[in-house]
Amino acid sequence: MANYFNTLPLREQLAQLGKCEFMDPAEFTDGVTYLKGKKLVVIGCGSQGLNQGLNLRDSGLDVSYALREAAIKDQRQSWKNATENGFTVGTPEELIPGADLVLNLTPDKQHSGVVAGVVPLMKKDACLAYSHGFNIVEEGMQVRPDITVIMVAPKCPGTEVREEYKRGFGVPTLIAVHEDNDPHGDGLAIAKAYAAGTGGHKAGVLMSSFIAEVKSDLMGEQTILCGMLQTGSLLCFDKMVEKGIEPGYAAKLVQIGWETITEALKHGGITNMMDRLSNPAKIKAFELSEELKVIMRPLYNKHMDDIMAGRFSAGMMEDWANDDAKLLGWRKETGETAFEKTENTETDIAEQEYFDHGILMVAMVRAGVELAFETMTAAGIKEESAYYESLHETPLIANTIARKKLYEMNATISDTAEYGCYLYNHACLPLLSDFMTQIDTDVIGRGLQLPDSGVDNQQLIEVNSTVRSHPVESIGATLRGYMSAMKRIN
């Protein structure tokens, strides 16, 4: 199979990359009607698979689960999950031939095998849905031409997809139709009904393409989301210990710090995150992040270029073929870092202290988010996609680190994200070594501790205006506005 993106002419590549728009809620007034009475069969009963299935059924759709014969016979966990929730369960041979819509909700890595096994069983003119397009775009999977291929990707973990639905709301969702496989022209109608069935239409749906989703997703996860947070964790922790800060405190400041800082990001973008700092600290964070952006920009460009050219996925698939030798080696390495092995202090750290003592971390988040966003949009990806794959997801990964530190975070995110994260980390650590020599505990560990927090008015105005006028802030405000207009009614 050849990389699908690389087979397209430039004109088509650009057109696909540039797809992503917020859909008008009025487009969803028909709800799930288009799928009423159709047979939906889910493959994969993990958290996404189970919770999406529960939502779709509660929306009035007919949902069952195809599990491997061994899983049914041994009554494995996936079988228990499906049957205890009252779903019909059968083997692919039993269920797929009757399915109008097959939902592939297995992990990325299994897609080739799953799809190759399932498609021959599918009836003519049925529809196959993905929640991530790697298999189509990077692996170049070709699906039988009579089959419609769509993507519906809720931008939140499965448990949250369910929780928000039960509240009467939903999570933001990205949908796409694979244009090479839309034989009846109703791919979009199916995707919309599916998104409505999961509740996504209440929180906002983005119409995108397989290509835009894959390229932006890969870029976001390996740079700002996982890569920057991993590199930042290691550098900040080691620096604090080197400068004599108690290791238990340093470990906690870093581990919980990302989550605390990016919570501010979630609510009000970079602007609000920076506003949580005192004026002198904000100016300091601004200066550091400007410097970081200059140093790291070539690395962000390289990641984007490798993703666009297909070099990243080719390299990773080589490692898949080699039993994940590199991936597992790197994972082990992460587990042995000092940050990972240090126990957190029991002492409480106040919420504001994470900002005041973590100025460098704030700078790293700003630099990483802005660089990822700028690099993606420069490569032709729409601002909406770039926002979701950078700023929007950073708090979600930070939350994982807060619970699990790096080793576990890496073991639990997708293997694709993890592989890219290590590539970034290995390149970024040496890149920042000079920069780190000038760093002291005033920006990481102890805070500025100034007797007077006065600043120059003109300088503050300039800093504020630069932060606020960045394009990620305006698109962010718009997209968060859609969400909160629907969510918070007062």
């Binding site: 993990g46 929730n85 779903f87």
Partner: protein, 478 residues
């Protein structure tokens, strides 16, 4: 035997203790001595739980002094129950692993704190927890969770046992056992109880602290008969002349066919791979026929109700007819919920969104947790009438999570009633309510039963909380 422990007494001197923006304890003067058994009483929101928590060092002392804070207390309360449930929710890594989590087993929950294997074995037997040990803690019913909490607190060898609402959520079989147990424990471990209902005040309590809006109003020795009578009167305020606000004239509920039963469940069962909750259950509810549902903790009351509301996933593989829909034929869960008003402990725990108290009531029109639709003027007007009845008219804009548990429960009851649903399901509505609020809620339920719009299903453990107008009973057994 008097167990050796660290409690030497606690003294509050003019202590002002801040808990959040809207609540502080003010000028507390209070002395607890070893050998006394205290009960804190007062209306919902008066600060009972806060005062108990202050004893363990919670809150921020802004003036005055507190000496002898009890660091190692065993706490049984709605808050500690919610905290444990929340901890389990956070431990659920299925959002990042994409695996569906089974949660921590009950056995592990008990072993992680127990310092007394002998007592642990005894309590497991007393609370009949044997069969639950291998089940995930999150799968337990609210009454069962409560028993686990008791066991954890008692076996952790605390310096003091603090029990906030000792009998809340326990079935009638368990109440006397817990009363006996506490009585026995009170001779061994210093004990502080928070009591919501005067009729639940255990005999062995020696002192009562009466709170009112953050102030310690008075302390009473239970041996002082005259003072006790006065306290009882104070706590039994009368509730008369309530008028229930009307339904929303702008959005009438879709009418139902009066010839059909409201609910018709045939040969229903709820089972998990390792556990049968119930089977062969039939239940037919006609319009206007009010029911009381009883049964011990874990007998499946909530599961049964959730088959009706659609919140239990096994409603799809049972024969269930509700509000004109035979379940599993393309109807959505919202088609069902529009006919139901519902309040239960699990709803209370699920109601974790940032929202003000007026909108909590309005969310009842939309069956949502949180409010995602713009309310109409008439809905706002109705919500304000409800707030008036509850005495919260001045707090309409205040955040829901700043209300005490009991006050939150009152708001959720109003939310359940606000649209005058065809079926009103009240699953232990009075859980955690003080006497006055309970009287109010019972009066409201009686009014609703007397009206013609809503049919009521009522679950409770308290024999005293009988409701006039309810004359059908369904009893579940183990």
């Amino acid at each position: 035997m008097r167990a050796s422990n660290g409690f030497k007494g606690t003294v509050f001197k003019e202590a002002c203790i801040r808990f959040n923006e809207s609540f502080s304890l003010v000028d507390i003067n209070w002395m607890l001595e070893p050998g006394q058994v205290w009960a804190i009483m007062g209306a919902s929101g008066s600060g009972k739980s806060a005062l108990a928590a202050a004893l363990t060092g919670a809150g921020k002392l802004s003036s005055g002094t507190v000496e002898g804070i009890v660091a190692n207390a065993g706490v049984v309360s709605l808050e500690s129950q919610a905290a444990l449930i929340e901890r389990e929710r956070l431990r659920d890594d299925s959002d990042i692993t994409d695996k569906v989590s089974q949660g921590t087993a009950t056995r592990e929950m008990l072993n992680e704190v127990s310092k007394d294997p002998e007592l642990l074995a005894k309590l497991i037997k007393l609370f009949r927890l044997e069969a639950l040990l291998d089940r995930g803690f999150r799968k337990l019913s609210s009454g069962e969770t409560r028993k686990v909490l008791f066991t954890r607190a008692l076996t952790s060898k605390p310096d003091m046992l603090i029990v906030d609402g000792p009998f809340e959520g326990l079935d009638t079989q368990t109440v006397p056992a817990v009363d006996d147990l506490l009585k026995q424990v009170s001779t061994e471990i210093p004990m502080l109880l928070v009591i919501n209902r005067f009729d639940e005040l255990p005999q062995f309590v020696t002192h009562i602290a009466l709170l009112e809006r953050g102030h310690l109003k008075t302390t009473v020795e239970t041996s002082d008969k005259t003072a006790m009578d006065l306290t009882s009167q104070l706590l039994h305020l009368k509730t008369t002349g309530i008028k229930i606000p009307g339904a929303d004239p702008g959005n009438p509920l879709p009418p139902l066919d009066p010839a059909e039963p409201l609910v018709y469940i045939r040969d229903a069962s709820v089972r998990y791979t390792d556990n049968l909750v119930f089977e062969h259950l039939d239940w037919r509810i006609e319009t206007g026929q009010h029911w009381q549902l009883t049964g011990p903790n874990g007998s499946g009351k909530t599961s049964l109700l959730n088959l009706i509301t659609g919140d239990h996933p096994q409603c799809y593989n049972n024969d269930i007819f509700v509000f004109g829909y035979q379940r599993g034929n393309g109807e959505s869960i919202w088609d069902i919920k529009q006919h139901i008003g519902y309040v239960s402990s699990s709803l209370h725990w699920d109601y974790r969104v940032s929202i003000n108290c007026k909108n909590v009531i309005i969310s009842g029109f939309y069956d949502s947790i949180g409010l995602y639709t713009k309310a109409t003027d008439s809905q706002i007007e109705i919500a304000m009438q409800w707030l008036q009845i509850l005495g919260f008219q001045d707090r309409a804009g205040q955040a829901f999570n700043q209300f005490s548990y009991g006050d939150q429960r009152l708001l959720l009851i109003a939310r359940a009633m606000v649209k005058h649903p065809h079926l009103l399901i009240l699953d232990e509505p009075c859980f955690g309510l003080d006497d006055m609020s309970r009287q109010l809620v019972l009066a409201l339920i009686e009014k609703i039963c007397a009206g013609s719009e809503s049919t009521v299903i009522y679950v409770n453990h308290h024999a005293q909380d009988q409701i006039e107008g309810i004359d059908n009973y369904l009893a579940l057994t183990h």
